[in-house]
Symmetry: C2
Subunit: 347 residues, 2 copies
């Protein structure tokens, strides 16, 4: 079982007397320690115009973090393609991949927050088409050694070669969040890796995992369990009061995000919004509790085939350390427990 | 006299067996050593689709370099605004400024290379209007603590607050290249700093410097000589054969750039192209030769009021060291020689 991190720093813009670098600096130190503790990766969000300072320039932030670390993989989760010129993204990601000696995990999405579409004056209805055009351009830009042109609905380029080249060949891993069967099928079609969200209950994670494996194998490819990462909130508590407080913090944060994301007419049906702000979702999905409770939940995920968790814990340093000390060793180097269908990449 | 660097790395995309990271890594080591040797800053180009691997994602590259250094100021020279979404640039530059504790020098331009406009499918005639709209949005995004909207010709935003905030208040220094009187006047109008190019002969540099100082003072501001940086090619030679070879290398490189930049009809009138590929320009402007020759040229610039040089030397490590050893000490902490009109910022 591999353990990575998922989240982001904040740098609120609250006034001239406040050091807005503090949140960024603390998050960097948190990740440097995570690498030393044995965490495999860090996946960062990209968000805009929140008013509470979520990371906006995630590729720049990850470049800095890459320079301060040596093995930690650096992921976006997710970079929202509709906001960006895809050729500039291809250049920026290739630069990051090259400078970090191939540590980029390129997580991409279509966006789900109304306030961001509204802020950029991009209609939410264009999200799918913009995403599809962008990812095609980016893959072409990364992989084409020859000059090419592109005439799309949103972007046009003439006789270009995109430099620098990427370090990871043929290109860095692409990760996509998906929840519905049709979305998961599309991830398999694109040959991308799958991100499963932090709110889906464990049994449902097992179903989605199996569905994706089947979609990959149906296409004649060997399935690798490392190509699925499951996000989970984590908090190693000393007692039930601490656990309870962690649930309350989480629900409060989720309600704030739901408010930002909703459309004026309340018709935003993004799967991430449908289940994320209930106490039930928090209880069932979160790795909150004493180490034994947490290990029991991870063992259930392991039995369902899961081999890669992305942990989100709000940057609490003590939590990071306790998980590394009390939970990670239980799963270190452990052979797959009951999974029979997991096929190693070498077969 | 302050000495900074101007240039960029290359990472050619020549094939699967070539380590394209090598050029990037060498340039990073070059700049780390430059900081240790006392150089003040490094200004990096941004270019696209050259086929010989000039840096494209300069803000990402500078972020990495910022993480590897502690005092070196990090400049773009220039970031070409017409290629970019200005709000994304405001976010990326603020992130860099915050992470580096305020070391960003934001050099901007309109672009002059035909192959880039053509590659991005942006008409060259739109360069001025795109530049003006972008710089206004970026300044607003950096400085506005309140949400704002923007309805421009090229960009629209609704009710946004741009995060994170910048470290340098009210915003990082803006640098603009200019050559003609009208362009220099516009730099003074915008309250920006002035970049003078590497090809203009020394006496003409003095005229442009004096013109800018006058334009600044006419507007009731105190002129600070540190707000003008003069680019110069540099090469500390052991003998005349080495000097001659350096001139030849420089002319060859310039001709390659002129070819890329020219329009199909040959009507690109950018000032940087008009004089840059002649031997005469190279002789008159470049700081090539024995240390005494170079010091004599710098003294002439100093007498004309210049206090800040940006040196471009193709990344030759030995050249960087010899200049620091044989030339920089001559000008270290030296009081202004004959300039009478130079006004210190404290006056």
């Amino acid at each position: 079982m591999k353990f990575g991190l998922f989240g982001g720093a904040t740098a609120a813009r609250v006034g001239p007397d406040v050091d807005s670098a503090q949140g960024y600096n603390e998050f960097i130190e948190y990740n440097i320690e995570a690498e030393a503790l044995g965490y495999h990766s860090t996946f960062m969000v990209e968000h805009h115009f929140t008013g509470f300072g979520q990371v906006s320039a995630s590729l720049n932030f990850l470049t800095w973090l890459g320079a301060k670390t040596t093995t930690l993989r650096l992921g976006t989760a997710v970079l929202v393609l509709p906001w960006h010129n895809p050729v500039l993204i291809a250049e920026q990601t290739a630069t990051l991949d090259l400078l970090t000696n191939g540590r980029l995990d390129f997580g991409v999405g279509k966006g789900y927050r109304y306030n961001e579409f509204d802020g950029f004056c991009i209609p939410m209805e264009e999200a799918d088409a913009r995403f599809e055009e962008s990812i095609a351009v980016i893959k072409k830009a990364w992989t084409s050694m020859d000059r090419f042109s592109h005439e799309g609905k949103y972007w046009r380029y003439k006789d270009i070669v995109v430099e620098p080249g990427v370090m990871q060949r043929p290109h860095p891993p692409i990760w996509m969040g998906a929840g519905s069967e049709s979305s998961i099928r599309r991830v398999a079609e694109l040959g991308a890796n799958l991100l499963l969200d932090q709110f889906t209950p464990i049994e449902a994670i097992g179903e989605k995992f199996a569905f994706f494996r089947n979609e990959v194998e149906k296409r004649g490819r060997v399935f690798d369990a490392d190509t699925v990462a499951v996000a989970r909130a984590f908090y190693v508590a000393n007692n039930s009061a601490e656990k309870e407080a962690a649930h309350e913090r989480r629900l409060k944060a989720q309600r704030r995000l739901t408010t930002i994301s909703q459309t004026p007419t309340g018709d935003n049906k993004a799967s991430i919004l449908s289940f994320s702000d209930t106490r039930q979702a928090s209880e069932e999905s979160a790795l909150y509790g004493l180490p034994d409770e947490i290990c029991a939940k991870i063992s259930r995920l392991e039995q369902l085939g899961v081999r890669y968790l992305l942990l989100t814990g709000g940057g609490i340093r003590e939590n990071l350390r306790r998980f590394a000390k009390d939970v990670m060793p239980v799963f270190a180097g452990r052979a797959p427990a009951t999974s029979t269908k997991n096929v190693s990449p070498a077969v």
